[in-house]
Structure formats: C-alpha cells, structure tokens
C-alpha cells in the first residue's frame, strides 16, 4: 500500500472521528450513499448534462446524446475543428440490473476509450449499508479505480490474479464481498455490452444447444466418467490455511438441461418439473458439496447474491441471485455420494451458450485471524456437455491459447529473424579464426563488419524495436524461480528474452560473456558504437582509458552491485526491481529517454555521454548483469589463444579496449568483450611482435614465409630430406 494513501486514510479517519465526537449530525453530502440524483439522469437523452462525463473520459471535451441499445454516449475531442471520437461513457443502470448488497444497484458511470480500455469509473449513488456502517466509502472508490487502464475484454475477477489462465485479479474489500462481486459484474458486463455494441469486441454467434436423441439413465460413476458431472475440489492448503483432512469444499456439478444428465440426477418427474419452471434459454445446473465450508455462505441472505460461486464462459460471468436458486431434492443416480449442501442454480442470461464450454468458479477466501484481512482466491473447473448428448457433437471452439503461446504465434516473424541473428552471430564467431586471419591490424573489417552489423541490428531491431534488452531483473527472477517455483510460462511470455537467454547461457559457457556483452547487448553495442563514432568524429583526442590501477579496482564495483541486488531481492523483489534501475536499459529502450522523469534520463544520458569518451564505462564498472555473466565466464570452454611470448610482449594489451589483458598478457575472460582485436594481431605477421620478428628473421635469412599455423606461429620449415632416415 502506498504510504501516502495510508496516511491520508488515517487522517480522514481521525477527522471523521473528531467530527463524530463533536456531535455534528452525520452528513452524507460528500458521499455517494443514497446520493440524490437528478430524476432526468435515467431518461434525458443528454446524459452528460446531469453527470460529469469528463471525469470518466478525461480526453473528451464534448459528448453526444444517448444512443444505442443499451444506451451509451460518445465522447469527442476537438481535433482542429474536427470532432474526433475518443471513447464512450455509459451509466451502469442503463445496461445491467445487478443489485448489490443493499438490494439496490450501485449506480456507476463508466468511461471507456475506443480501444475498450476503461478510462474512468465514478460511483454516483449506492445504498450499501456496510459502507455506511463499518467500511469507509473510499474503499469502494479505490476498488473501482482498479479498473482504470484495464481492457473490458479481459477476464477480470475478484481475488488473486491467475496469470497462466489469463485472469486478472482485483483486490476485494474485506467484509463487503457481495458489493464488490456485484460491482465487478456491473463494470465488466456494462463494458462488454457497450464494447460489443460499438464493435470493439467481436460477437461470435453461438448457436443454442440441440440435444441428441440419446436419452439414457446413468449411474454416478458413469456420469463422472463421461464428464456429465465434474468435480471442483478446493483444499485448505490451496487457501493458504493449514492442511486439513477434509477439503474446504468438494463440489460436484453438472448441466441439468441435458436430458440424460438431468434425468439421471433428478429422476424423470424431477426433470420434467424443473424444465417446466425454466423459460427458453434458461439453464439449470446442480451442485452438491462436501467439505467443511459452505459454497453458499450467507452473502445471499440480504444482498440476494451468492458470492461464492458463479459460472463463467469466456468473458461473461453469471452470478446467481436468491431467486435463481431452487432446492435440489436429491440425486437419483445410483452410487451418488452423500452431501452436506446442494443447490440448483438457474442461469437466466440468454448470453449463456450451453453447447460451449463453461466453468464453475468458486471464490474461496482466507481469513487472517489476527488482522481480519481476507484474501480471495478463485478456483474453477471446466464443464462441457459430452459430445454424444449434442446433435452433431461439440461445436468447434477456438480455445484461446495460453498468453505465451499467443505471443509466440503473434510474433513469429520477429522470432525467426531474431533467432537467425543469434545463430548468425554464433556462427560468425565460430568462424572467428578465418575472419581474424583475413583481418590485419590496419584492416579489421572482416571481423568488424560483422560486429558492427550485429551492433546496429542489436541497437535498433533488438533494443528499440523488440525491446529485448536482457536485464539483471531476469536473473533475480530466475534465482527466485529456482528457489521457490519454476514456471515456464513466466519466462515463455517474452519469447525474445527467452531466446536471448538460451543464447547467453550457451555462449557464456562456450566462449564467455563477451559474445553477448560485446556483440549483442543493445546497450553495450550502443555504448561502444558511440565511442567508435566519437573517435571518427574527431573526438579521439578527448578519449581516454582509466589507468589499469583504477580499472582493476573499479571493475569490482559491478560485482558489489550484483550481489547487493541479489541480497535485496531476497528481502523484497519490489525494492530490488526499483534498485535495478541502476541499469539504464529501461530508460534507454523500454520507455525512452524522453519519457521518464529527469533523474532517470540524466543517468542514462550521462552514461551514454561518457561512453563517447571512454569505452563502455557502464559495462566495465556498473553492469550487474555483466557481473552475473562474468562469473560463469571463468568456466568458458574455448578461450582466446595466447602464445608463449604473450606474457612479456603486451602489444595487444595496449590495444585492448576492455582492459582485459593484464601485465602478464593474460586475458581476463570475465572482462573480455571478444572484440577479437588481439586475435587479429595473433595472426598478423606485421602486428604481432613475435611474428614480426620471425618474419624479419626469415626474410633476412631468405627463408620462405610459411603460412601461420593454428598456434599463431609460422609453420616451421622442415626439409623433407632431413626427415628421411638413412639407414
């Protein structure tokens, strides 16, 4: 919770308490409790003459009259004298009649932009006694504010988010579940209704169910086996409570309109009697339940809404009112278990399509006995009338893919291109010997051509376009996933980062971190490119390198940063993520230099500016990701080549931009960016001092200049004759 809002509510509470103590009569003038609304609000075509439409659709400056069925108004922005549609505003009671706890609707004004994103919600009037008697009204306002920025087509439910299943969670109000469940229905159903009407959401026509001629009586076992009856079990531990022998609830449920199911459950006369009570398009389901808690609860007593169970189908959720409940007198199917609680619920909304899959949703809650705080958690179990009971079997349903699958499908082209890039860079590097031989100190283009291309692609395609800048936060997340719970879905949701990391892990252990850091890291590439461009632009004389003494001290800073973040993440992932802003990646690529507040911009710009004058200052001294990759680089499989003279020569150490070659000529693969400059020299008979020496010697001696071997030396001249033994 935001500390400021906590302070604010505390202050409000204190003020209210003082007001009460002073004995002033309670005034509801400032609240929406039973707020008097102009009578025309429900009928006047000019809705916005009576309510503040701009509050929920701030981008609009003018509004149309009510239109459509159910009604809404359009909001317009004045765009150079042209009215431009920016969104829609609608009054909940025009669209849905969902009474809340009080039995009366919470009258809510809702704004939505042309993409179906909710831009505002305002409670005009409610009658919720609970918000008068115990819970401040502000919590309801806070609750509805959670819808801001959410897409009406999303699955939004009360309780913890279930990302894998595509559900977005909303924090409930402890002690006012009925209110928030009703309010969630109000906002989502109205939003969806209008979004469908104006074409934001596509309406797939779903034909009504037609039952096949099969009419059989099944035992309980058979009902379970063919899916006519499904089970939804919620255990205590799933609600974060101590494990119990008996589950929290253990429900069996099924669709009673399907003749074979309904008659098997209710018996012939019970089925006929139930069907006679249903209108066309109404559907009945039954639930029987065991477990130590109730699926009915007591929320329905005053509010009339069952707040623990509902049926969901795609974007629609169907809650049950007390008038949708009928007694289930018994289960006829032989072998049925005994049960503690039962119900027949009627789904009256014609939008429910029985031929298609639906889910029974149970909203469990966990009470913290110390604080009285409740956590709400949803569980569901899918039901689909067995194919044999439907004429023509089950209709074809395009199941929405898991979010990660959707992303992979949606971005296939980019994923292929990106994979080509990764494989290409690895292939290029695998052929580095050939490239370094083609290069000389004076002409490194055979290597640099590939590298610069990789940089440019990395900066613009990978960085700015794909936003695939790997970050230390991913490393932290992995650590946590390894320690606590590994979920592939979590990592698969970003295919580029996922592939990038496969590349990173493989190359770090093959060749060290340099291939990623030096060739493909978007920020690293940008940083070094600035340095190179700076040199070309005549800034070379201002360019400098830190003395080795300071470099050797400062290079350890990044390890401190890394371990610091790791330690903080164990305490608070949120704080660690904030501190990970030490990476300027978010500012540079993900958000944009000019879209952030000035301290971030200044930091990123400063680092990039500094890069013009010294090579990769961030990578060398600060980058926690680099530090994390540097450590395993110690164990890379293939290092760069050295020759005997290297420990005294130091010629390449002078040109090493990464300052990775120490005074003994050893390459520190933790620091090396694999620029391959030293490898170019390695085979450059004009640049590598030992080779140059040999070249001069042979030239003087008139010896042939044999090709340079894999060991970096001229292949030794061995007369063939001498090799032939005489005797």
């Amino acid at each position: 919770m935001n500390p400021f809002s906590a302070l604010r509510s505390a202050t409000m509470g204190a003020l209210l308490a003082v007001a009460t103590l002073l004995g002033s009569p309670p005034s509801f003038a400032q609240t929406a409790y039973e707020a008097p609304l102009p009578a025309q609000i429900n009928t006047d075509p000019d809705l916005c003459a009576h309510v503040a439409c701009t509050e929920v659709l701030p981008t609009a400056s003018s509004f149309s009259h009510r239109m459509g069925k159910p009604t809404y108004v359009e909001g317009y922005r004045d765009d150079a004298g042209q009215r431009k549609l920016v969104g829609y505003v609608f009054l909940s009671t025009d669209i849905v009649d969902i009474p809340a706890y009080s039995g009366k609707p919470v009258i809510t004004l809702i704004g939505m932009d042309t993409d179906g994103i909710i831009t505002g919600t305002k409670i005009l009037r409610h009658s919720e006694p609970i918000l008068l008697l115990g819970i401040p009204e502000s919590v309801l306002t806070k609750f509805v504010n959670q819808y801001l920025g959410k897409f009406v087509g999303d699955k939004i439910e009360i309780g913890k988010a279930r990302n894998e299943e595509g559900y977005i969670g909303l924090d409930a109000i402890t002690g006012a579940t009925v209110t928030v469940i009703a309010q969630n229905q109000v906002v989502m159903r109205s939003g969806v209704a209008i979004a469908r009407q104006v074409g934001i959401l596509k309406v797939e026509p779903r034909p009504a169910i037609r039952y096949s001629a099969i009419d059989e009586r099944l035992s309980w076992e058979q009902l379970l086996k063919d899916g006519s009856v499904r089970r939804l079990t919620v255990k205590s531990e799933q609600l974060g409570m101590p494990r119990t022998a008996e589950p929290y609830v253990d429900m069996f449920f099924g669709h009673l309109n399907t003749p074979s199911v309904g008659k098997s459950i209710l018996g012939e006369s019970g089925y006929t009697s139930l069907m006679s009570r249903l209108k066309d398009n109404e559907h009945a389901i039954f639930i029987i339940s065991n477990g130590y808690d109730s699926f009915k609860g007591s929320g329905f007593v005053r509010g009339g809404i069952y707040d623990r169970v509902q049926v969901s189908q795609d974007m629609d959720a169907y809650t049950f009112r007390d008038l949708d409940y009928l007694n289930l007198w018994g289960v006829q199917a032989p072998g049925a278990p005994s049960y503690k609680e039962s119900a027949i619920f009627i789904i009256r909304d014609p939008g429910f399509a029985a031929a298609y899959p639906w889910s029974l949703v149970f909203l469990g809650n966990k009470l913290d006995r110390n604080t009285g705080h409740r956590d709400f958690v949803s569980f569901d179990s899918e039901y689909w009338v067995p194919a044999k009971y439907m004429e023509g079997g089950r209709p074809k349903v395009v199941k929405p893919d898991a979010p990660w699958v959707r992303v992979w499908k949606m971005r296939t082209v980019e994923i292929v291109l990106f994979s080509i890039l990764l494989v290409g860079v690895a292939a290029v590097y695998a052929m580095r010997d050939r490239l370094t031989r083609l290069s000389t100190r004076k002409n490194k283009w055979p290597v640099d051509g590939f590298k610069y291309a990789a940089w440019l692609i990395s900066i613009f395609f990978v960085g700015f376009y794909l936003l695939a800048q790997p970050s230390i936060t991913q490393v932290l997340t992995w650590f946590h996933a390894l320690l606590f719970q590994w979920k592939w879905e979590l990592f698969l949701t970003d295919p580029f980062i996922f592939l990038f990391w496969i590349f990173i892990i493989v190359t770090v252990f093959l060749w060290g971190r340099g291939l990623f850091c030096g060739w493909l890291c978007p920020f690293g590439s940008l940083s070094e490119l600035l340095y190179k461009v700076g040199a070309k632009l005549g800034l070379k004389r201002f360019q400098f390198m830190l003395p080795m003494k300071w470099h050797n001290r400062l290079k350890w800073v990044k390890y401190f940063v890394f371990f610091g973040l790791l330690a903080v993440s164990m305490l608070s992932m949120g704080l660690a993520e904030k501190l990970a802003e030490v990476e300027p990646f978010k500012t540079t690529f993900l958000v944009g230099l000019f879209s952030r507040s000035w301290p971030y911009t200044l930091f990123a710009a400063g680092l990039l500016g500094l890069s013009i004058f010294t090579e990769r200052p961030f990578c060398k001294y600060l980058c926690p990701l680099g530090a994390a990759l540097a450590m395993p680089s110690t164990f890379r499989w293939f290092g760069l080549k050295r020759k005997q003279e290297c420990d005294s020569c130091k010629a390449c150490a002078v040109g090493c931009g990464s300052l990775a070659i120490d005074d003994k000529g050893r390459i520190d693969h933790r620091e090396c960016m694999l620029c391959l400059d030293c490898m170019v020299m390695y085979t450059d008979e004009h640049a590598c001092p030992p080779l140059a020496q040999e070249r001069k010697r042979r030239t003087k001696a008139g010896l042939a200049l044999t090709p340079i071997g894999a060991d970096g030396y001229y292949i030794p001249i061995k007369p063939v004759a001498a090799a032939t033994p005489k005797a």
């Binding site: 009474p99 009080s102 039995g103 006694p129 008697l133 019970g270 009697s273 005053r302 008038l323 007694n327």
Partner: protein, 649 residues
C-alpha cells in the same frame, strides 16, 4: 396378540346409547393404564426389540431401527403437510417428518401479522358488509385437500372449509395465500370437502375442476324464517364448487345429511357418509337407526340433469339444485345417487389409493365398511339389484373407528377414538374374512396413541402414489403429554413410522387447537414462488417517483413504496376527517425481505412481501404526528425505517 384383540371385539357390548357412554368413561380410565403400555412400546422401538418377533413377523422388519423424523440443522423436510386449524380458522403448513410448523395462511378470520382482514385486498376476498366491515370474523376449518392431476397432487390449489359460516376458501399453493372465498347458499354445518380427480366424461380433463362440499346440519329451505318449528322439513344439500371460478356449480337435495366427502380416481363418483339419515335434531334422534349410509353421487348424471334444466332454486340463490332424494331416484338406471347402508352414525369416508374402494368407519359401530366402487357403478348401470351388495367387507376393528389412511401396500390404518389406538388392517384380508374365510387375519398391528385420535393420514395416502412411509394422527386430547399450561391443552399430533410391519410411534407434536384433517405429500410436488410478481397487483406503485399524496376532495390516496431501509414518501400530510387509502408496494426484490407498515393509534398493521402491494382505508380522525414504521424486521436500519403521517387539525 391379534387373537385377543379379535376376541375382545367379539365380546364388545351392544353399542346402545347407555353402554356407549359407559364405554367412553371406561376408555377414559383405560387411558391412565395405557401409560404402562406406552413405556413398553418405547422399549420395543429400542434396539432390544428383536426378541418379541416370535409371532412370525419377519425378523428383519422387527430388528430394523425406525426412521428418525428428527432433522439436523439445515436439513430439509421431505414432505409438506397441509393442516386445518379448527376454530382458529386458519390453514397451516407443516414440514414433515420434523413436524415443524412453517406457515399459517389466514383465510376465514383476520390475522394481525399479515394484516388479513385489515387490508382492502384481503377484505375483498373475505367479504364485507355494506359499511365495509368484515361479514365474518370467526371460522372453523376442518378439511383441507389439494388439487389433483393424474391421480397425484399438482400443486395448484388447496381448499379448506369453514364449518361455522359455510364458506370454502381456496389457497394458491404457489404463493400460499388465500385468493378466493365462496359462501355456500342454503346450507349449514359445511363439513366434508373433496376435490374431484378427473372429469367423469372428458378424458382430457385429467385434473381437478370441481370441489364437493357436504353440509351436516338440516335447515329450512330457504332458511328465511319459515318452518323453524318443523324440523322434519329441514333439509341438507350437497354442493359442487367450480375449482377455477369458485362459483357454486350445483347443489343436490338429499335425504339425511352429509358428513365427510370422498371422490373416486375415475372422476365418476363422489360420496358422503351420512350419520343422520334419520333427520334427527337431537342426538338421540340422530342415532336411532342401526344403519345409516354412504351416499354416492353420479356426477355425470347430475350435471346432465342440470344441463337439462331439471333443477330448482331456493330463496335468493341462483344455484341450480337437483333432486337427489330417494323418492325421486327409484330407478337405478337414471338415479343421481346410490345409497349404500353403513352401520350406526358412520364417520369418515376414504378412497383407497388402488382406486377400488371407499371405506366408511363406523364410529358408533366398531366396524369399517369397505364398499367396492365398481359395484356401485354396476348398480347405477342396473347390474346390481341391491346397493348393499357393493359392500365387500364390514369388519370389526375396535371402539370408535373414525378415519382411515393407506400405505399403498394394501393396508388401511383406522383411528379408534374410544380405544385411543390406531389399527392397521389389511383390506384384502378383511374382504376374505367378510366373505367367510374366518381364518383371514386382517388386523396386522395396533398402536396406542395419546389420546382419542380423530383424523389420520399417511404420506401420499389420498393419491394413487401412497408410499407407506409416514403416518400422522391428530389426537384430540393431550392430557399429560406436555408441560401443563393451564386448563386449555394443546392437541397432540403424533407421528408414526409405518414403513415396517409394525407401526412405530416416533414423535409427539403439540399443536394449537384444533386441527382436524390434513394431507401429507412429497415436497417436490410444489413449486412455491419466492417473491411476488409486481404485475399481479393492479394498484402497484412501481417506482418511488410515483409515490405521494393524491387528493380528490376529502378522499386521499397515499401511494407509498418501501425499499429497505426507507419508505417513500418519508412524510405525508392529511387533513382531519380525510378518508385515506394507503397503497404500499414493497419494491425490494430480495427473497424474504418483507416489510411491515403500522400506524399507531389508527389500528393499522399489515405486511408487504417482496414485490407485493397492499392497501388500507381509514378515516383520519385523530390529529397529530403518527410514526408509520416497519414492523417486519428488514434491515440494519429497520428501526429507522419510518414515515411520518401528519394529520393537520
């Protein structure tokens, strides 16, 4: 044990009047002694009951523990019971087997809770005098029976009689409210009542369309002051009421009187037992004949006679009355009625669920008479030369047999008022016994009940689907069965498990006096509605904006809505002397969210259930402020739910 009982039956004294009184006194004494038997009986139902199963009764049945009528919290009853309330004048709804009273439906008499007899709507149903006051405020309900379809209850209606003022009320079983009351013309002592089960002629009408009503008391026709001193001219009528319109379709002038009524499952016959064929006007006269009768009505022939114009009318009544007297119906082939004799002041006539028999209990005769319906129809067809040949059994059961219930397995259960017992007897065995097979053991079991049982009924007993699970018996005396509360005693409704060979008494329930008849049927046969349909009320105030005071001279209509926790308007002004009509609609839609509306000092209180509308009319004859408040708990702000009625002087 059966043998001894049979023998005592043989040894029973001649049931003359003097002996009868003696026996009654003796039975009262015997009651005290029976408490010993009671404790033995209780022991029998305990697990140790296996031992006395020597008499050839199946061991399994004797060993089987009885079914427990007690429900756990939250558990629902499996049967509905519809109960008469006697001279409380109401209609009651019980849950069974628990015996919990769930509802009382006011019909004939005012009710302070719901405002029955106070609201204009209920007054209209009850009937008012010219000055607007209720015509009657007392009632005496005895018999309630529900509408049928295909031989089972269909959950539409129940009917109940008012013996005092000869009224029949209809209860809608979707809302459990009384929607119509009809006063029967030219009769007194309207007692028995039974709906038909299908049309005698039209096979498509396989459901109830008529309700038959029997009148006990002989009166002059019309009863306008004539013939008051000539009791021999007093007559009774048997009435047929239309189930839908509640108009009296026709009446039949008969010899003797009517008591209880039964109808056949084929719709062709209705019957009433007659205890006063003598036309006596003091009890001695009423019990002078050794045999009275069960009178069968041929419905199709009576309605044909009405259609043919063969009827008369009495006094101001326009109801056609056919002549169903013996004298006018000598030829069986055209007779409207068939009179089968039954011993001495019979009581109760009950149709067996196999649709074959009607059974009349003897009351002053220790017998039950089994009449085979096909033989009665044969008589009407001229194929049977003597009405009494329709009697297929007339067997002794015990002292004071009154009413009979059935278990669907061929057994009948008859209350023995004087013996304070229920006797379970097998109808087929009784028929065998009657036809000469003296070895036929028709009495299966006897059970002491506490005390003096009147009506008896079993689950689904009056349908073709009698299931033989539970039996309830209404005992007229409770004596020592409950904590004493002064001279007025509750009555005892006793609950009996009849699923086994032996009856097991499982529960005592005190009931406020005094229910008579009742029916018990499966819960799934009803589909009660949870809230009202606002459109059923023409006066409904459907929106709070329609609320307010509407004046027309000194006639003022105040339209009020209730929506927890407020009435709208929250105050309204009247002038002293105004004739005020308050119309209140409860706009709450939540199940069970009922509001009350009381006006202090104006003697007004009534309730409105969700989506219901009710109105009251009164003269604003007291100036001042009167807080109209909600009397039916509704909301956390229930106490605050008020409206100010200001009567300006």
């Amino acid at each position: 044990m059966q043998e001894t009982k049979m023998n005592t039956v043989e040894a029973m004294p001649d049931p003359s009047r003097r002996k009868f009184l003696n026996t009654a006194a003796f039975a009262g004494l015997a009651g005290a002694g029976l408490s010993v038997g009671l404790s033995a009986c209780n022991k029998e139902s305990a697990p140790a009951a296996g031992a006395p199963a020597a008499a050839g009764a199946p061991v399994a049945a004797a060993k089987a523990a009885y079914n427990d009528p007690h429900l756990k919290p939250g558990e629902l009853d499996t049967y509905y019971g519809l109960w008469s309330g006697g001279h409380t004048g109401d209609f009651r709804v019980l849950g069974l087997p628990s015996g919990r009273e769930l509802h009382r439906v006011p019909c004939f008499v005012p009710d302070a809770l719901v405002g029955w007899g106070h609201t204009n709507e209920s007054k209209k149903i009850m009937g008012t005098k010219a000055d607007g006051s209720l015509r009657y405020t007392v009632g005496d309900t005895h018999h309630t029976h529900a509408s049928y379809k295909d031989g089972n209850y269909d959950g539409r209606y129940a009917w109940i009689n008012d013996k005092i003022n000869s009224r029949i009320a209809r209860i809608r079983l979707d809302y459990f409210v009384c929607d119509k009351i009809t006063e029967l013309p030219n009769v007194q002592g309207f007692h028995g009542i039974f709906p038909d089960k299908r049309d005698p002629v039209d096979p498509a009408v396989n459901y109830t369309t008529r309700v038959f009503c029997g009148a006990e008391f002989h009166i002059p026709l019309p009863n306008d002051g004539r013939d008051v001193d000539s009791p021999e001219k007093y007559r009774t009528l048997f009435s047929c009421v239309d189930a839908e319109t509640m108009e009296v379709r026709w009446q039949a002038l008969i010899d003797g009187n009517c008591d209880l009524v039964a109808t056949s499952f084929d719709g062709k016959l209705a019957a009433t037992n007659q205890y006063n064929t003598e036309g006596g006007y003091h009890y001695e006269g009423m019990m002078s004949a050794e045999r009275d009768a069960c009178l069968f009505f041929n419905i199709a022939r009576i309605e044909q006679a009405v259609k043919d114009g063969k009827y008369t009318t009495y006094g101001t009544s326009r109801v056609p009355v056919v002549d169903a007297t013996r004298a006018a119906n000598t030829d069986p082939k055209t007779a409207l009625v068939c009179s089968v004799s039954v011993p001495k002041n019979p009581h109760g006539v009950n149709a067996s669920p196999d649709a074959k028999y009607f059974i009349c209990a003897g009351k002053l005769s220790p017998t039950a008479t089994v009449i085979e319906l096909s033989k009665v129809l044969d008589w009407f067809d001229g194929k049977l030369d003597d009405e009494d040949k329709a009697i297929v059994a007339e067997v002794e059961l015990g002292l004071g047999p009154l009413h009979t219930a059935f278990d669907g397995r061929g057994n009948a259960y008859t209350t023995l008022f004087l013996d304070s017992q229920i006797v379970k007897w097998n109808v087929d065995a009784a028929i065998k016994f009657h036809s000469g097979d003296k070895s036929a053991q028709y009495v299966v079991d006897r059970l002491d009940v506490h005390y003096q049982p009147g009506h008896i009924n079993a689950s689904q007993s009056e349908t073709m689907f009698a299931d033989g699970k539970w039996l309830c018996v209404g005992c007229k005396f409770s004596k020592d069965r409950f904590l004493p509360v002064g001279p007025l005693h509750a009555e005892t409704e006793q609950f009996v498990d009849i699923s086994g060979e032996k009856m097991v008494l499982v529960a005592d329930h005190p009931v406020r006096p005094e229910p008579h008849d009742f029916i018990i049927f499966k819960r799934e046969l009803l589909q009660p509605k949870q809230v009202y349909d606002i459109n059923e009320f023409p006066l409904a105030v459907k929106d709070p904006k329609e609320a307010g005071v509407f004046r027309d001279g000194n006639k003022v209509t105040v339209k009020i809505t209730s929506l927890a926790p407020a009435f709208e308007p929250r105050e309204f002004k009247l002038q002293l002397g105004d004739e005020v009509t308050i119309i209140l609609t409860n706009l709450d839609k939540i199940e069970d969210l009922t509001h009350g509306f009381a006006i202090p000092k104006y003697n007004v209180n009534f309730i409105v259930n969700p989506q219901e509308t009710a109105s009251v009319t009164f003269i604003a004859d007291k100036p001042g402020v009167f807080w109209c408040y909600c009397t039916h708990f509704c909301h956390a702000l229930h106490l605050e739910m008020r409206s100010r009625m200001i009567v300006e002087a």
